[in-house]
């Protein structure tokens, strides 16, 4: 037990993936016995500080566990700590964290990706059994998995209960897993997925053992290659194509497909996400929990001051933009329009999955950037980084990012995307690729 905490201390010193580290470690019995589970800091852990990466929750200790945390505890896991993230999920590089900013294990001057940066970082460097619980709204599991060279699984929306997840955008948030191997993420998903009476949006599907999809066989698997997704750096495109070819040589076949609505996905995503986020963040006003100040002035003055101090710049930006998109006169043109675009994107995917079992594309258009490069980016340039991950996230379809190669010593991720409820197909392809790519 002490060993693990020692290792964790060293990891934290070098890479800073944690916001909070557990004070003690308790071993239990079950499917996750002996496995350290790290939890992204926007998921509530009873008695353990949960900040969502924000100053406004700097000292917040939840009075209840998120459903996923409860489920892990019941299966004998121990919670090793809370991992660093962009405040409330607002970011692609985990640089919007009010506490630690995790550093890329392949180059300490580079970002781990985001917003689940801490989770992916720890998954990459942990030298003890560990699986990370992470969360994705627009790609926050896939992006850091890609940048850190680990496996990131984002399940179908509604697979995993969001009870205890501090909301970014309720219709987009999904809890998922990051680890070194496909087997690990399949195991953890089996534990955390399933019906839950506290979340009305959870599907009423029976519990499943996702490890049964870990079969090394892709014969006759039909891979769709969406051409819009390959308009990236040609070196990255080539690395992913090489991966597809490996799968082909193992019996899969591929075909090109066009998803024309892809170019609208980013805008639709950000409008919906920000609109929902602006309502979700309204509850933080210096009452009942979180940052509080001296009670002075009227309510408006008080809560404005608390929020002014507690929220980071990106949070403020998204609240303002999200509120604007919902205002009378703009609501139809922005929020409602974005919802319609979303429906179109879902329909396009549905059509694609009539012809193909999975779609494969690069996860990110770039490899991990340097912190100094990120500082120079305009907000909109940052948002553009999500261009490949937002569409599957909007549609709520499951996707896995798996390491596929290196560019200049930095990991490149391959995105395997499947239809709603078809995690099994994606897992099988990912597992096979993991085995055969050597």
């Amino acid at each position: 037990m002490e060993e693990i905490l020692e290792k964790v201390k060293k990891i934290q010193e070098k890479f800073s993936p944690f916001i909070t580290i557990a004070e003690k470690v308790e071993f239990g019995k079950g499917k996750l016995s002996g496995i350290a589970i790290s939890v992204k800091d926007n998921i509530c852990t009873k008695g353990m500080r949960t900040t969502a990466g924000s100053k406004i929750l700097e000292n917040y200790v939840p009075p209840f566990d998120a459903s996923v945390v409860e489920k892990c505890k019941r299966e004998g896991a121990f919670i090793i700590g809370k991992t660093a993230m962009d405040e409330f999920g607002f970011g692609t590089f985990s640089t919007n964290c009010a506490f630690s900013i995790p550093k890329n294990p392949y180059d300490l001057k580079r970002s781990c990706g985001g917003s689940s940066g801490g989770a992916a970082c720890l998954a990459a460097v942990a030298d003890f059994p560990h699986i990370a619980i992470a969360e994705s709204t627009g790609g926050s599991i896939s992006c850091p998995a890609s940048f850190c060279g680990v496996v990131g699984l984002t399940p179908t929306y509604g697979r995993v209960s969001r009870w205890g997840l501090i909301d970014y955008a309720n219709s987009l948030d999904k809890i998922g897993c990051i680890s070194k191997t496909v087997e690990d993420v399949a195991l953890l998903l089996s534990v955390i997925a399933g019906p839950d009476e506290f979340d009305s949006t959870v599907l009423n599907l029976p519990k499943e053992d996702f490890t049964r999809y870990l079969i090394e066989d892709v014969k006759n698997v039909r891979i769709g290659v969406p051409k819009e997704y390959f308009e990236v750096d040609e070196k990255i495109a080539k690395i992913v194509w090489d991966g597809i070819k490996i799968l082909e040589s193992n019996g899969a076949n591929y075909g090109e497909i066009s998803l024309p609505s892809t170019k609208y996905a980013l805008y639709s995503y950000y409008i919906i996400a920000m609109a929902e986020a602006s309502t979700n963040l309204a509850k933080f006003c210096g009452m009942r929990y979180g940052l509080e100040l001296e009670l002075k002035g009227n309510f408006d003055e008080y809560f404005s001051k608390v929020r002014g101090i507690g929220f980071g710049e990106e949070a403020k930006r998204r609240i303002i933009l999200g509120t604007f998109a919902r205002m009378a006169g703009f609501r139809d043109a922005y929020y409602l329009k974005a919802l319609k675009v979303r429906t179109k994107i879902i329909q396009e995917f549905k059509q694609a999955f009539k012809k193909f079992d999975v779609l494969i594309a690069p996860t990110m258009p770039i490899v991990a950037p340097k912190f100094e490069e990120i500082e120079k980016l305009e907000p909109i340039e940052q948002y553009m980084m999500d261009v490949l991950t937002v569409a599957p996230n909007l549609a709520g379809i499951p996707h896995i990012s798996i390491p596929c190669g290196f560019l200049n010593g930095l990991p490149v991720g391959m995105h395997i995307i499947a239809n709603h409820f078809q995690e099994g197909k994606a897992l099988r392809v990912a597992y096979t690729f993991e085995k055969v790519k050597r």
């Binding site: 998921i43 509530c44 949960t50 969502a52 929750l57 917040y60 939840p62 009075p63 209840f64 998120a66 969001r162 009870w163 205890g164 997840l165 501090i166 909301d167 955008a169 309720n170 219709s171 009476e197 506290f198 979340d199 009305s200 949006t201 609109a275 929902e276 602006s278 309502t279 309204a282 509850k283 933080f284 006003c285 009452m287 009942r288 929990y289 979180g290 009670l295 309510f299 408006d300 809560f303 509120t323 919902r326 205002m327 009378a328 609501r331 929020y335």
Partner: protein, 468 residues
């Protein structure tokens, strides 16, 4: 001047648990903030969960108000910042309410119901050291946060406060019969009113609590607006608050524009499909509504419409009491008469409902039988009612204890009468001279001496016998 009034009525739905969590709703007996959980406190990570019984109740009301019921309904977030908001948005219904386009008839006029929907109540604010405009600070009690509310919005069809009063009486009676509304609960009914005169600007009166205050507030406001007009001034479009101490309306804020609540659909809740089966189940569960009950009482029990109305509108428990009594005793008119006047008077005076009192149908019927058999006088009966409302003792017991039996052929009465006559020779003379009133005086004395137990008729008889 012509008056136009529209109402927005908020009623607490009487379910055991709140609308979006399983916290209990009996806030009267609880310490502040005792009936709370992460959901109704708006803790980060919490999510709402719909209490189906609330929808059942809402559907019953929608049916009773003759509304069109939606096939699919959604919840929305209404976003604004206020200290009584646990999440700084209220989960309500905006785009697609549960029901719409209904009506309620009052005296041959149809008041149109624009919509009926479900929403959560915010917390309770306690203004310390003043009221909403003058308090030093505010305390927040979240016991009320998340209580299920029914919002009923009417078209501005009211043309007088009398119509408003009739409408509210009827509505409250319906809600009470559906067992959705409990009049004894504090703040269970709140009314917002929109009022304008002669096509002028609309003034909104917010959060008037309780029936009686609605009429007062409206009357005051009508006069205020009329006065402004008479002086040639313009009525401004604004929101006002009714001060129940001064019985006047006070300006809260000027309404230059409609508040923009930035509605989105509540993404943590899925749509509610209202199937034919569900509606059929609701129909089966619908209890008898007040109008039907009034008609039935008139037809089957033969009581007057006036009495039937009073019995039914007093409350379902009162109406049930009538029916229970009518099972045991067949002079229904008598039951009605005694309930509507003396029993009701007594309950009101003690400020309790029939349920809270100790009277039972059996004891009430016993009383009526005692009167019928002549064992007690009407006056005595009234005294007995006062007693058994408070103690629940049976009338026979009370009569025995207090010795209230009618004095008729009793020796005692003869004694009393003889005494009265002896002690009031002058009055007797007056009577013999032709003064009728003198006789009444003597009877009165006798009654008094008998502690009101004497039968006046018998006393008169005896007195005359002795005198002549």
């Amino acid at each position: 001047m012509k008056v136009k009034i529209g109402l927005e009525i908020h009623v607490h739905i009487n379910t055991k648990s709140k609308l979006f969590c399983s916290c209990p709703t009996n806030y009267e007996n609880a310490e502040p903030n005792e009936l709370t959980c992460p959901i109704c406190l708006g803790f980060p990570g919490s999510k709402p969960k719909v209490n189906k019984k609330v929808i059942d109740s809402a559907l019953m009301v929608a049916k009773a108000l003759n509304c069109e019921i939606a096939r699919e309904t959604f919840f929305s977030r209404k976003n604004y910042f206020y200290p009584d908001m646990a999440k700084n948005f209220q989960i309500t219904q905006y785009e697609i309410p549960l029901a719409k386009n209904g009506f309620l008839e009052i005296n041959e006029k149809k008041i149109r119901i624009r919509r009926v929907h479900v929403e959560e109540d915010p917390a309770k604010l306690i203004h310390v050291g003043g009221d909403i405009t003058s308090a030093k600070y505010v305390l927040v009690d979240y016991n009320r946060s998340g209580i299920p509310l029914l919002e009923i919005v009417t078209e501005p069809d009211f043309e007088s406060t009398k119509e408003v009063r009739e409408f509210l009486s009827k509505l409250v009676s319906i809600l009470e019969h559906l067992e959705i509304y409990d009049a004894s609960r504090e703040a269970a009914l709140r009314v917002d009113a929109n009022i304008s005169i002669e096509g002028g600007e609309k003034v909104e009166l917010k959060n008037i609590t309780g029936f009686a205050n609605v009429e007062k507030a409206l009357n005051y406001e009508i006069v205020r607006q009329q006065n402004l007009k008479k002086m040639g001034l313009v009525v401004e479009r604004e929101t006002r608050h009714f001060d129940s101490q001064t019985k006047s309306t006070v300006s809260l804020r000027k309404k230059e524009f409609e508040e923009d609540y930035g509605y989105i659909f509540e993404p943590d809740l899925t749509k509610i499909e209202i199937s034919e089966n569900w509606l059929k189940e609701i129909e089966k569960k619908m209890p008898e509504l007040p109008d039907m009950k009034i008609r039935r009482f008139v037809e089957i029990y033969g009581i007057s419409e006036r009495e039937a109305k009073i019995i039914v509108y007093t409350g379902k428990a009162f109406a049930d009491f009538f029916e229970e009594c009518s099972k045991l005793y067949k002079n229904f008119g008598n039951v009605a008469k005694w309930m509507v006047v003396d029993l009701l008077k007594c309950l009101n005076w003690n400020k309790i409902s029939i349920k809270e009192s100790k009277v039972t149908p059996r004891s009430f019927v016993e009383l009526l039988e005692l009167i019928d058999s002549g064992k007690i006088t009407q006056r005595t009966a009234k005294e007995i009612i006062k007693e058994f409302v408070a103690t629940g003792k049976s009338p026979k017991e009370i009569v025995k204890e207090k010795g209230l039996s009618v004095l008729r052929e009793d020796e005692k009465l003869k004694e009393i009468v003889e005494k009265v006559v002896k002690e009031n020779k002058k009055v007797v003379e007056d009577y013999l001279k032709g003064n009728e009133k003198a006789l009444n005086f003597l009877i009165g004395l006798a009654l008094k001496k008998s502690k009101m137990k004497a039968d006046p008729k018998k006393a008169r008889e005896l007195i005359l016998k002795i005198i002549q």
